[in-house]
Symmetry: C2
Subunit: 421 residues, 2 copies
């Protein structure tokens, strides 16, 4: 068990903004981050003079090799007109911007800075699928790469082990996918703003318009079982079990707790922070739990004083459908081996007692890897402040939400609890 951690100065979130997520052939990293920053400045209820920003933190994973440019802290500080303010990039694979968030929290909590901009971004879609698969594997632990595992392969192996251990099946994974798509319908920023039924209808429509016989599926699972509609990637991971290739950016403004109400009457507070490192799958006895996630969660719970049952809703790192099931167990929301049943019973739906990935998750909102950690926290921000539009949770007393971000195959895991007071 970890020590009980605390911050010497409380930290509040007072603004947030994100670009639409998707595949944008005409937008680069600077364009996307500028979009997100523009939305952020507009989101500050009582206004923000960008000159008052003390520092910038950005998370990014792949730009070194996908766009052949490093040093993005400095570049974005210049792009946003913030230079000579200091800017720092963090990299922790798909958890890159959750790490940036933590560093921004520490910078404010240390008393050194008062007002810090933090976010993440990724620009992946201009590379071929092969290049992206190769590039993303740089996040894995070297032993996994030597064993020729790709990410779908690793999570496929995890899913197979989970099926074996707990009696789940592919049908249970489909419940995660169907829910993610349902939520994303209500998220205008989502890359795939379509339910599985919407996708079925559009495929039928397209077949008819081309004069071909329309496919016939009796329901969503029937569609997901169809190998033409949902081809296998790495057993049992099929196309609709996998998060997509995405571009996007997201950012937030953090300030010292005592300054929060200069910016908004409705700030959120950082109640719990946790981060841990995993050893890699080669060194684990158990493929069906991420030790780093459990450690990160323990650190955040102890800091906040909250228990898993206090977390009213969460964004978790569903890079693959099986990952969502593992994480809701590792975070303590459901007992080990019961996550798939909870999803099946609807407990994690928008109208369930523990909504998970109300944004549509990585699967449907999109997964521009360096932006994901920040975007998860923005979903918590919007839900807690009642600004989530059509997907707004209807719990009358929303107060506590959390975001879980995973880097690689569990090499890095973070858990962040936000509170509205």
């Amino acid at each position: 068990m970890s020590k009980k951690r605390k911050l010497g100065r409380g930290v509040a979130m007072v603004g947030a903004g994100m670009s639409k997520f998707g595949m944008f052939s005409d937008l680069d990293s600077k364009d996307l981050f500028t979009q997100a920053f523009g939305e952020l400045t507009g989101s500050i209820d009582k206004g923000l003079d960008p000159k008052d920003i003390d520092a910038l933190y950005v998370g990014n994973f792949t730009n070194d090799f996908f766009v052949s440019q490093s040093h993005w802290g400095a570049i974005l500080a210049d792009t946003l007109g913030l230079a000579p303010k200091p800017a720092t990039r963090t990299e922790g694979a798909c958890a890159s911007s959750a790490l940036a968030f933590r560093e921004a929290v520490f910078a404010v909590a240390s008393g050194f800075y008062d007002i810090v901009l933090v976010g993440g971004f990724e620009d992946m879609s201009k590379r071929s699928t092969e290049e992206v698969a190769e590039g993303l594997s740089l996040a894995a632990i070297p032993y996994e790469r030597k064993a020729a595992f790709t990410f779908p392969g690793i999570f496929g192996a995890i899913a197979t082990a989970y099926f074996d251990q707990y009696g789940a099946s592919r049908e249970h994974l489909m419940n995660v996918t169907i829910k993610s798509h349902q939520n994303a319908v209500l998220n205008p920023k989502a890359q795939y703003q379509a339910s599985i039924r919407d996708i079925m209808a559009s495929k039928i429509e397209r077949a008819k318009s081309k004069g071909r016989s329309a496919p016939e599926w009796c329901d969503e699972k029937d569609f997901l079982r169809d190998p033409m509609a949902n081809p296998m990637i790495a057993w049992p991971m099929h196309l609709f079990d996998c998060s997509p290739i995405s571009d996007g950016a997201a950012c937030m403004l953090l300030v010292g707790e005592e300054l929060a109400r200069q910016f908004t009457d409705d700030p959120l507070y950082v109640a719990g922070l946790g981060q841990a490192s995993g050893k890699g799958l080669h060194a684990t006895d158990n493929l069906t739990a991420f030790e780093a996630t459990a450690c990160a969660a323990d650190e955040a719970y102890r800091m906040s004083g909250f228990r898993p049952s206090d977390i009213q809703f969460a964004e978790v790192h569903d890079c693959f459908s099986i990952a969502e099931i593992l994480h809701i167990e590792d975070l303590g929301f459901f007992e080990k081996g019961h996550g798939y049943k909870a999803v099946e019973e609807g407990l994690t739906r928008l109208d369930g007692p523990k909504p998970i990935n109300t944004s549509g998750g990585l699967k449907c909102k999109g997964h521009p890897v360096g932006a994901t950690g920040a975007a998860q926290l923005i979903e918590i921000w919007e839900q807690l402040r009642g600004q989530a539009g059509e997907r707004q949770l209807q719990n009358g007393n929303l107060r506590i939400g959390a975001a879980h971000n995973l880097g690689g195959t569990g090499g890095t895991s973070t858990f962040t609890i936000l509170e509205r007071r």
Copy 2:
């Protein structure tokens, strides 16, 4: 002018270690960092149980594309046996580990962690010179790359502008090189532990042993003027104006100020921290000053209450000989346009009133880019504690030293003041 910054909790340095710097065909990033960590654990006067380390921060610039592996925080946490402790990588080009150092300071100053390991590393020498030149250009601002500038080209342009503006010449740059080599003779970790005279003698020896007529140089400058011995890279940058391609790692242990004496009776304290972003050379009116360096220095001086004249010695980012001259001006040690004269007069030598780059600097100690910021701070550590061996400064009352680290062409600049109390 920046605000006066302070930390809510003081932070002390209580241990340090570094690998030898050089080109090591048989050592990778893990090997090098493990070497540095081994030396660090041995350096803690009162001992360290690695289990007590709360978190790890590492700076690295090029591993994503030079060794095709990212996510080094997690990998090194595993390598050192620290997992599940959290680990975060920072990247700010050649300032990557100075950024890691700042984040480690903030993490401790925030009260969240008590004992943090921080360092940097780079593994560059296994790539061809062409690949390294291409890769390092990822640190530059995109406009500079579009203009086809390489790093020697950029610093060559800066030198030419400096010559024009202040009447300096190539002969003055040679004084920097000669001093760096003299200092490095006394540094057993240095990549080039040889004076220019040593190099001259060895070249003469080699010529004789091959039965060729021995070159004749009347002194060091005569050698440096010889285009066979010191070929031009990008006018007026010649081979001996440029820091080398290096592998290496360096790390330090930081703790809350009140805990320092549990580890050593002779800790150092973080007195001043500064970081700033530059806009890139395309946007500057003046090629002969780095605005980011002046801003970073201002922030650190204001925090510490010290003036430039209080800094008894410093490591500055001499990626090229001209850079050392610019930085000692931008940091306020000498007036603008007088840096080259100060070097000529010997003011920056080991026995001068303001010793600069006592380690041999990037030029001779080596420049494994992600390790450089950490290694600079370790030179300050060794000098202030009287552990610098033959290159120990003989000032009887050494108390204040500082390190300046530059990323790219001034996109990021940091200045850190350490104090012995």
